[in-house]
């Protein structure tokens, strides 16, 4: 797997995930709204959501 960025940052603030995906800022804005809605929803506890997020990241070997 590559260790060098494959896309230039679309912002002046850095080269993280959000800076790179800002190439499609409108699309990712919709995703951020959805993701925020999910995390703020009281249907499931924050602990359970974070636990599953971390487990998924480990399973997929994702640094997030």
């Amino acid at each position: 797997m590559s260790t060098t960025p494959r896309f230039t940052a679309a912002t002046q603030t850095g080269a993280g995930f959000g800076d790179v995906t800002a190439h499609v800022a409108d699309v990712m804005g919709h995703f951020s709204a959805l993701y925020g809605e999910y995390w703020q929803s009281p249907r499931t506890s924050p602990m359970l959501k974070e636990m599953t997020r971390l487990r998924n990241a480990r399973t997929t070997e994702c640094g997030f």
């Binding site: 790179v20 499609v24 699309v27 919709h30 995703f31 959805l34």
Partner: protein, 163 residues
């Protein structure tokens, strides 16, 4: 077979609604609606042919053997029987450079995303440009999510219930 058929071409903002959304996902209508708005926004990215997204969506559905997604056919990005056959046989020569680059990445997104190479990403950026290429990769990633979600939420089929 599940009724879940989230579509990147649906237009909930126009009141068309979510096609064939499964009852389980309707339990969280706000999230279902937000997802459709997000996915539909991909078709508005300039320089991304709808056909490109549809080829990637179908190829990923084939990899997952995801029948609900394979049953979806979009009138705005129709694939011919020859296209479908070429996708089933992984005949990349049937497609142009941008389509081949899209399909090369689609092939690895579901089960081998760590194996995607710099060259494969460059091959996508070359004909499309950086912004459209980013949109294609985002779309492919969520087409993979759709298959996983669809297959996880599927209603038991008669044969399942009998066993």
């Amino acid at each position: 077979m599940s009724e879940l058929q989230p579509s990147w071409l649906s237009t909930p903002a126009a009141g068309v609604g979510v096609p064939g959304l499964a009852p389980p996902l309707n339990l969280v209508p706000d999230l279902a609606q937000g997802y459709e708005v997000f996915l539909s926004s991909l078709k508005g990215v300039e320089g991304v042919p709808l056909r490109l997204l549809e080829l990637g969506r179908v190829r990923i559905a084939l990899i997952h053997d995801c029948q609900p997604q394979l049953d979806v056919a979009h009138a705005l990005a129709p694939l011919t029987p020859a296209d479908r056959a070429a996708l089933e046989r992984i005949e990349l020569s049937a497609f142009d450079a941008a389509e081949q680059a899209t399909l090369a990445i689609a092939e690895k997104i579901p089960l081998a995303h760590h194996d995607i190479t710099d060259a494969e990403v460059e091959a996508l950026k070359a004909p499309l440009g950086e912004r459209p290429a980013m949109a294609v990769i985002v779309a492919l990633s969520f087409f993979d999510v759709q298959c996983r979600l669809s297959q996880t939420l599927r209603a038991p089929e008669p044969s399942d219930r009998e066993s």
